[in-house]
């Protein structure tokens, strides 16, 4: 299998393109996935150029390859986008709907959480709703309070939804391919600050199963559980501490739901000292879920209380310095590790 260096953005696009090529029922639905329709530049149509290709260029190239029937630009109308995807998934398509910024779930959440997520159960197992909702999460872009959130904890609390949040280009491709192949609705969270990060990524299609954590680094003193952009921050902290002989294990659950409970518990039990880092929320977030898991199921192995590192209980501020202070970073993770090691 050949591989090449690809950005996270390219990895996502490649996953979409390869699944579309493989399966005719995969369609893309969203705003400006192509862009330029009813625009005044005739060349776009003639020369098959996407005017946008997604607001940050992630889907650029899909329309020119697969055409308007499979790359469906919509009005700005998220309730209809997600609801339409849900209805289409019930009836033979395998839609991938783009929400652009996950923060927008507030205008269309019913279609996801009360409809798509619940069909199978409410209908006694007689329905399948194979759909993916893709969107950006995360702070770090000065995009302010309504464009910087990471609400995967909200989605993960919904029975019927699966939730994925890859931390690197390699996982992004493999997990997205798997997400599209799932027969359940999946929310796929792309961290906007990761789009330009690169990794060695196989060129061929491959899939990574949901619910399998990745030990991004093995260690013996402290376990750090971190997701999405926090994985990089955790590894940075671990790098620095390694020089001092502190051995840190960094576990990336990769999927919020299903959660690889055993994978997490194993590492927690082995080190007995755990830092949980999470960008989602200071209250009722994914971090609390993981702390709770460990505290209820690995209690006897714990040598110190779990350290939970989250943003404060505030909206994401705009001003860069405040935003930087808001976001958990490798310094805070390092401090938490040091505290545990000292305890």
């Amino acid at each position: 299998m050949t591989t090449s260096k690809k950005t996270y953005r390219e990895a996502v696009k490649e996953a979409l393109a390869q699944e579309m090529a493989r399966d005719e029922t995969v369609v893309q639905i969203g705003e400006d996935l192509r862009g330029g329709q009813a625009g005044t530049n005739p060349k776009l149509e003639e020369e098959k150029i996407e005017a946008f290709g997604g607001v940050l260029g992630v889907t650029k190239g899909l329309w020119s390859e697969f055409g308007s029937e499979r790359v469906i630009d919509t009005p700005i109308t998220e309730s209809a986008i997600i609801g339409m995807a849900a209805g289409a998934a019930l009836t033979g398509l395998r839609p991938v709907a783009e929400l652009m910024f996950m923060d927008f779930f507030g205008v269309c959440y019913d279609a996801l959480y009360n409809q798509a997520a619940k069909f199978r159960y409410m209908f006694g197992g007689k329905a399948r709703t194979p759909m993916v909702v893709r969107g950006m999460i995360g702070a770090g872009f000065s995009a302010a309070a309504q464009h910087s959130q990471s609400p995967y904890h909200v989605f993960a609390s919904v029975p019927g939804l699966k939730v994925v949040a890859p931390s690197n280009a390699h996982d992004a491709k493999g997990l997205l391919i798997q997400a599209i192949r799932e027969d359940d609705p999946v929310v796929f969270c792309e961290h906007k600050t990761l789009y330009d990060t690169k990794a060695e990524v196989p060129d061929e299609p491959y899939s990574i199963p949901l619910g399998v954590a990745n030990y991004t680094r093995q260690g013996t003193d402290v376990t750090v559980i971190a997701l999405s952009a926090m994985v990089g921050a955790a590894n940075d902290a671990a790098d620095r501490l390694a020089a001092e002989g502190i051995s840190v294990e960094v576990v990336d659950p990769r999927t919020v739901s299903p959660l690889d409970e055993e994978g997490i518990l194993e590492s927690a039990a082995a080190t007995g000292r755990v830092v949980v880092v999470d960008e989602s929320a200071a209250r009722c977030g994914f971090g609390h879920d993981v702390v709770s898991l460990i505290a209820t199921r690995a209690f006897d192995s714990l040598r110190a209380p779990v350290e939970l590192v989250t943003p404060p209980h505030t909206p994401v501020p705009f001003s860069p310095k405040l935003e930087k202070a808001w976001l958990p970073d490798s310094a805070r993770i390092e401090a938490a590790i040091r505290k545990l090691v000292a305890s």
Binding site: T77, S79, A80, G87, A88, F123, G125, K126
Partner: protein
């Protein structure tokens, strides 16, 4: 319409009526869990629309979904068992009255969220368009639901993508206890839909033939690639909003009057030439319907509740 078709349509209406009238009684026994919203009085709408559809076509429905289910061909025994919360139910007891679904006949589920169906219906229409299988989708919404953003968004999307879908708005004069003339700023639901850029018509929803004809046109247009249509069909609900509603917003005399003059089944009978279908034949259908429902109730009552293990199944296809 030939005799078979006439009797077929009447049979569905008759079954809906028998089903709902009987549920009204059964509910009074206290044995039916949860909320029940009855469809009696609106039968001509569901049946008038669905007689134009087949199993590869899809419908999205509402909290008041029993009529749509029967019209679309759901099994009456399975429905009744579902409403009683039994294992034999169409959803094995997990859904209940507000979530009856049967994808095998194209019924995408009753829906307890007002305005839930239109986005789902355009999704089914998108499938049909993309898979080029000639399918059509219909979305049922109430007058109240017609004010939801989801309904408006679905309409605009359907026009933009020229989806094969029919938006059926059942105007029964009320959303819960609030009159349509209060809640719909323009009292002209069809006119509002037309302004979204699609053909929209008003029909008398107590008249099966009027609904059937309007739906025929709309479905044909949709199948031919002509895009969406809205049909505003007016009729009355004979019971309260839900079972237990004291209906203070209208008087018992008014309801009696509606039952006497606006009954879609009587109107159907009145419009069919006696030489084509006799009163007796109609009566036989009604008796059959009642017998069918009797049997469904008896079986539903006797049936088992789902075993506790079922609590945990069917959340995901795989997890």
């Amino acid at each position: 319409m030939d005799k078979r078709a006439l009797l077929g349509a009447y049979r569905k209406m008759s079954r809906i009526r028998a089903f709902e009238d009987r549920l009204h009684e059964e509910n009074a026994t206290g044995d039916i869990p949860g909320f029940i919203h009855l469809y009696s009085g609106q039968e001509a709408i569901a049946v008038g629309v669905c007689e134009n559809l087949d199993d590869t076509d899809h419908i999205g429905s509402t909290h008041r979904g029993h009529g749509h289910c029967i019209a679309k061909g759901c099994d009456v025994h399975g429905m009744m068992a579902e409403i009683f919360g039994k294992l034999d139910g169409l959803c094995h007891g997990k859904g209940g009255s507000m979530h009856i679904a049967d994808l095998s006949v194209g019924m995408l589920g009753a829906n307890a969220i007002v305005g839930g169906a239109p986005p789902l219906a355009i999704g089914a229409a998108l499938s049909a368009k993309t898979l080029r299988n000639g399918g059509v989708a219909a979305s049922f919404t109430g007058d109240g639901g017609s004010n939801q953003g989801t309904a408006f968004e679905a309409m605009n999307m359907a026009v933009v993508l020229q989806l094969p879908v029919v938006f059926v708005v059942e105007n029964n004069g009320y959303g819960e206890a609030t009159g349509t003339d209060y809640a719909v700023g323009t009292s002209d639901i069809a006119g509002r839909a037309a302004a979204f850029g699609m053909p929209a018509v008003k029909v008398d929803g107590t008249d099966f033939f009027a609904v059937h004809e309007a739906a025929r046109e709309a479905v044909e247009r949709a199948r031919a690639g002509g895009g969406p249509t809205t049909i505003e069909a007016s009729a009355n609900r004979f019971y309260g909003h839900f079972e237990g509603d004291a209906q203070l917003y209208r008087t018992p005399e008014q309801v009696a009057e509606l039952r006497a003059t606006q009954d879609p089944l009587q109107i159907f009978r009145g419009k069919v030439d006696r030489r084509k279908v006799t009163a007796r034949e109609f009566d036989e259908v009604d008796e059959e319907s009642r017998a069918l429902v009797d049997d469904a109730v008896a079986k539903a009552r006797a049936a088992e509740y789902p075993p506790i293990e079922h609590l945990l199944t069917d959340v995901y296809v795989s997890f």
